[in-house]
Symmetry: C2
Subunit: 367 residues, 2 copies
């Protein structure tokens, strides 16, 4: 894995991440394919907007279809028919949202499946082993994510275990093509964030994520902590803000020096009839769109906006047709990909501040 | 509209139907797009297996989004982004399955919407007007479909009204680009079928459908009546067997001299995890497929079979992922399109009987 930084504009960064399955231009938004599928979409769909990397979830794939099946079918890329990059999360975040079903120790975390109640254990070692067996391009270290608000003792403990586990993850690595990223914790406390970042940076991993945000705190807190944490991370390595995916939050993230993002927001919205546009989200089921001959977003050149009207998409949702969720998911991801592409161009040309102001003005004009 | 017959082999026919939106090679299977969408699929998907004509439903589109909306958006082709041919049924079949919600007279049929209970009326004139307003390439005449088993009096009455209404449909025509097909009724009674066919043939319509079959009678009865009815129809005009779509029934239909078919079977099966193959249907959720690295059907060169394994498709259905129904729907339609293509080639080369026997042997080998 290599990461090259081509330009900066303020804290915003324009880079290229080269992974085992090709190049990722940053800033980049990574579509989420939890269960080895970006919901409703094929790899060909993802290529229509030139997605270079997608995310899949260790927790879900561990439970179903499981490591053996995916390995037997040739690894996750072959299994799902996607020949570009894949990043898997460590499962830490999902397991920690199972609260009543998990037992935490320094060794790892034991939990019960939400599917059938079966018992499982994640350790730093087996989580790395799983991700390597899948053959992914970026693996995330097992971390301890705290619920916000958190006490200082909870934050301290989460940082201690996250550092301990990240060391063990790093020691467990056995596959050169899988790059291991560490995850900075620290809640909303700057000194804790600084300590976590420093401890993980000393491990000299190829990349770092900002974890424990977008978990219920205010948007202002999230923007502030994301910017602060990014500023503490080694500038020569990629920075990934986990769980962020609205237009407003992506712009703030880039402005704070983040290179990579992921979120279920665009695809979940797509399934629910919510279209992302540069002038704000719109509910396609609204009566106003029933005869609207315009595309979802005049800004957008995606396969959906160049083919279908709001009226048709509105009809699909009112008739409960599967094509509706499919097309809105595609549009929402494609429009974020275009936003990222324009952001990269703006940073390259020292026009980031004007671009950011214009995107924010468009959003505010509609809200 | 023109129809040219290129070859016959026994009763089986190889033809070309030229409609306002291009050429349809026959025998042809028409995918069903009830609510202005072939469920889960885009027009681009349909083009991957070279679909030339699809079906949409007057009853559903009448209720939602309605004639005004579709007309305002430029007609049904523009509304749904499909630039090849569209055939709409007359709504008769759907209305007659509303039993308790409809009142029938010589004038037409009044009914209540299954969506909101609102009152509507179909007459021969307004059903033709609706289909012409949508700009479809083939419109079906309003018919009276009887439930089987039926008394002779019910059959006689259905034939009388169907002929009366078909005459009025023909008189109501005002658009040259929309070809009107009549629908032969007559239940399982040969003399009644002959009377209906004769009455409708005297109207000299551009094409004829065999209606009132595939409504619960035995497979043998359906094959027998379809073949018998086809033999009564003018040989120079296309013959369309409504509601038929299994491999076995399509082969029998072609063998009896039918040129066109439609059915929800392939897409409904696709949504339910049932894959059509040349050796029979398979339930993709079955445990046997969980690690099966083979494509759905070794015979098939569709976009699904050349990309995905049974194991992956099985996973998608077990994980309740929307991509599963989408991909199985695509495969099921594509494999029927290939079957039709091979059937056309067999008829052209006087190899129909051998082809039919081989398809039937493959099906029987697995059951």
């Amino acid at each position: 894995m290599t990461f090259a930084l081509h330009a900066t504009d303020g804290a915003a960064r324009r880079g290229t991440l080269t992974l085992a399955h090709g190049v990722v231009e940053t800033p980049a938004f990574m579509p989420v394919g939890t269960a080895a599928t970006v919901k409703a979409l094929t790899p060909d769909d993802l290529r229509t907007f030139d997605a270079r990397i997608i995310l899949a979830n260790t927790y879900h794939l561990w439970l179903r279809p499981g490591r053996e099946t995916i390995a037997e079918l040739g690894g996750l890329h072959a299994f799902m028919g996607w020949d570009r990059n894949i990043l898997t999360d460590s499962g830490g975040f999902q397991v920690f949202s199972l609260e009543s079903r998990r037992v935490l120790s320094d060794e790892g975390v034991r939990f019960r499946s939400h599917l059938d109640g079966s018992e499982h254990e994640f350790t730093p070692e087996n989580v790395v082993g799983f991700q390597e067996a899948l053959g992914v391009d970026v693996a995330m270290a097992l971390d301890v994510c705290v619920k916000l608000p958190a006490t200082q003792a909870e934050i301290d403990e989460s940082i201690r275990r996250t550092t301990l586990w990240t060391k063990r993850c790093s020691a467990a690595r056995s596959r050169a093509e899988t790059a291991l990223f560490g995850i900075v914790q620290g809640g909303l406390d700057e000194r804790s964030r600084a300590r976590s970042a420093e401890e993980l940076a000393s491990l000299d991993l190829p990349g770092y994520a900002i974890g424990g945000l977008s978990v219920g705190e205010s948007r202002e807190d999230m923007h502030r902590m994301s910017r602060f944490t990014a500023s503490l991370l080694p500038p020569e390595k990629p920075r990934y803000l986990m769980g962020v995916g609205t237009v407003r939050d992506l712009i703030a993230g880039i402005d704070g020096g983040v290179d990579m993002f992921d979120c279920v927001y665009p695809t979940r919205c797509g399934r629910n009839g919510r279209a992302l546009t540069r002038s704000g989200d719109l509910n396609i089921r609204a009566a106003a769109f029933a005869r609207d001959p315009r595309p979802l977003d005049a800004h957008c050149n995606c396969a959906v906006c160049t083919t279908y009207t709001r009226a048709y998409l509105s009809h699909l949702f009112r008739a409960d047709e599967m094509l509706g969720p499919r097309l809105l998911s595609l549009h929402n991801l494609a429009m974020l990909a275009q936003l990222m592409s324009e952001a990269r161009h703006a940073i390259e040309t020292n026009a980031w501040q004007a671009f950011r102001a214009s995107v924010e003005a468009d959003l505010n004009g509609s809200s």
